[in-house]
């Protein structure tokens, strides 16, 4: 009897999770809070600058300080603390932690701790692992805070400040929208197939079914693209893109902009 791979369940779970996550982010981003009230352009620029700052820092404490700063921002922005911490600290040690673990012993240097089997944790080894973990966790938290507190269409609209061409923003926005539609269609295809299967499928049958669904999805996507094009043309699309830019920096935003600038400069300066 071939082992069951539960690939349908896994795929369905992945699809549901993606939908759930963005629904959750949408819910939080609509609640009143500190980060929600800021101009999205300011948030994007601050996030990017701090990402670079964290990435360039040669000082572990600076990275840790930035992490706690983000934590404070998150708490004052109606983001549930346990979710914010768990989301990062469950995933990071699981992925990055496992990758980084051997570096504790592999990197030569002053020995710190002697373990059985002749394994020795070295000082540079420990430090490099801490660097990697803190950098990854802080970077993920930064991006997470941005998406949790900003609706995605606002993020897209604000991207135009970064001189991202309007055409590109339009494509991003449409892609984002059709990802959900295609996820929905895929979900239906998997579910309808699964609900009609009683026997255990062989690996070959499973792969055959996946290929069918994948290829059907490809055909549907291509068909849909020409339908969408016709729909756009019939609504007056002439190939030019107009994006709404309703953002205006308030006095409050400027004050926070100065604050973020001071933080960013100190991260760059102290982190050297």
């Amino acid at each position: 009897m071939p082992k069951q791979s539960h690939f349908i369940e896994k795929t369905l779970r992945g699809i549901t999770q993606a939908m759930e996550r963005s629904l959750f982010a949408e819910t939080i981003s609509l609640q009143p809070g500190f980060f929600q009230s800021l101009d999205p352009r300011l948030k994007i620029i601050t996030t990017l600058v701090l990402l670079v700052g964290v990435s360039m820092a040669h000082n572990l404490w600076i990275i840790v300080a930035v992490y706690f700063l983000i934590l404070v921002f998150a708490l004052s922005s109606a983001v549930p603390a346990d979710f914010f911490i768990r989301r990062v600290w469950l995933a990071v040690p699981l992925f990055t932690g496992i990758i980084a673990l051997p570096a504790l012993f592999l990197i030569p240097g002053r020995p710190l701790v002697h373990l059985p089997l002749g394994l020795v944790i070295t000082e540079p080894g420990l430090r490099s692992v801490l660097f990697l973990l803190s950098r990854v966790a802080t970077s993920i938290s930064l991006v997470l805070l941005l998406i949790l507190t900003t609706p995605w269409n606002t993020v897209l609209g604000a991207l135009s400040v970064l001189k991202v061409p309007d055409m590109f923003i339009l494509v991003l926005g449409m892609t984002f929208r059709y990802i959900y539609l295609l996820l929905h269609i895929t979900n239906d295809m998997f579910l309808s197939r699964k609900s009609r299967v009683i026997a255990k499928m062989s690996g070959k049958q499973e792969r055959h079914m996946l290929a069918t669904i994948g290829a059907t999805l490809l055909g549907k996507s291509l068909n849909m693209s020409s339908e969408v094009y016709l729909a756009m043309v019939s609504r007056g699309y002439r190939g030019t893109v107009v994006t709404l830019k309703p953002f205006k920096m308030q006095r409050r935003d400027w004050i926070w902009a100065v604050f973020f600038a001071i933080i960013s400069v100190s991260v760059f300066y102290l982190g050297r």
């Binding site: 992945g14 699981l94 984002f176 290929a211 994948g214 290829a215 094009y229």
Partner: protein, 371 residues
């Protein structure tokens, strides 16, 4: 006590393999922020940029205003296909990137754009892969896979009819090779970090493993699992398309016929050559690398000592076996590093030359693009 560390390299290497193997199943090839230095991230962005420009140019030339919905839907499709869990013989499952399929259906230039957009959305809105690492992730997955896979697919399938089984074989090999070469590039990006971006005392600031660890640790599991997934999925879908939706495969074919067969056609072989070289080089070089280090112990240690920062001299008591060992592997890797950068150099010059000729010779007046 310290010398024990160097006596059991197989154990340490084993742990590495296991760790990266586990990682493979979880996040595939998406590099998060923190693994690459900002300089590397910037360079990777610069490497991707010409491909983005070329892709947009191609789209505008061939598809006009239709391109916006087409790219959007294809990017959305790539995003969704990345969520498919593909069962492999033996009960394991893995995720495919779908870049090889996109290249076969859309052509590599357009596939670059579709996959890149899917990756950008993943990084920004779903937290898969870093934001600063978008350049690197796009280069590995949205540039390397489509071009290598497409070149391989074309070479294997040649001028056979669309229903030919050679097309399926080409798709399988293309997907496998594409992802394997991409894994190699990812490993090189990781592997150069400890050489260029470490603190004065040698503490790596980013991805901690040298090329000698990163390359086999990335390549071997990918060749066994992720690349197989990509190849199998690409082949299966091409097989299905052959039987029931041949039109999808045809559209790209017609596009190729109208395309002037010039430098691009000749370069295809070069691409495949490059791909084969890139895959073969670490396999062939890893063993001689250590052997080379062994015969040259004395000179190498001497060389190594000269380049050691003064801070390290305080730790002179530790200059026993482990450090000598470290120096050998370090210099052995420098040697490897030179060869890799040479390959990378050839690769880049090739791309540049190709891009230039395309921009110059393809200077037919751009179609009235209403974009």
């Amino acid at each position: 006590m310290v010398s024990q560390v160097s006596q059991i390299p197989w154990k340490k290497v084993g742990i590495c393999y296991f760790a990266l193997f586990v990682w493979l199943f979880t996040s595939a090839m998406h590099i998060p922020d923190g693994y690459l230095s900002p300089v590397t991230s910037l360079i990777m962005f610069m490497l991707v940029l010409p491909f983005w420009i070329l892709g947009l140019k191609k789209i505008r030339q061939t598809m006009n205003a239709r391109s916006v919905p087409l790219i959007s839907l294809m990017a959305a499709f790539s995003f969704v296909i990345m969520m498919f869990n593909i069962p492999l013989p033996g009960g394991t499952t893995g995720h495919a990137v779908g870049a090889a399929l996109a290249a076969i259906v859309l052509g590599p230039e357009v596939a670059v754009i579709a996959i890149s957009i899917a990756l950008i959305i993943q990084a920004f809105f779903f937290g898969d892969g870093g934001v600063l690492a978008i350049g690197a992730n796009c280069f590995n997955m949205a540039v390397v896979i489509p071009y290598v896979a497409f070149a391989t697919y074309r070479v294997v399938s040649k001028d056979t009819p669309l229903q030919s089984p050679r097309r399926v074989i080409g798709a399988v090999i293309g997907g496998w090779l594409g992802l394997t070469v991409a894994a190699f590039f990812t490993a090189v990006e990781f592997g150069i970090q400890p050489f260029f971006f470490a603190m004065a005392d040698g503490t790596p600031l980013y991805a901690p493993y040298p090329l000698s660890v990163a390359i086999p640790a990335m390549l071997i599991p990918h060749m066994l699992v992720a690349s197989v997934v990509e190849g199998v999925m690409t082949g299966m879908i091409v097989f299905y398309l052959q039987r029931s939706r041949i039109g999808i495969l045809q559209s790209k074919e017609l596009d190729n016929e109208t395309e002037p067969e010039g430098l691009l056609g000749k370069l295809r072989w070069l691409w495949v050559g490059m791909a084969v070289l890139a895959v073969a080089s670490p396999l062939g070089l890893l063993a001689p690398g250590t052997a080379w280090g062994e015969w040259g112990v004395e000179e190498l240690t001497k060389l190594g000592l000269q380049s050691v920062p003064s801070g390290l001299e305080k730790l002179s008591t530790l200059w026993g076996a482990p450090f000598a060992d470290y120096e050998i592997s370090f210099l052995g890797n420098m040697n490897l590093g030179y060869i890799f950068s040479a390959i990378l150099g050839i690769f880049l010059v090739g791309i540049l030359a190709w891009l230039l000729t395309r921009l110059v010779s393809g200077g037919s007046p751009e179609k009235q693009q209403s974009m």
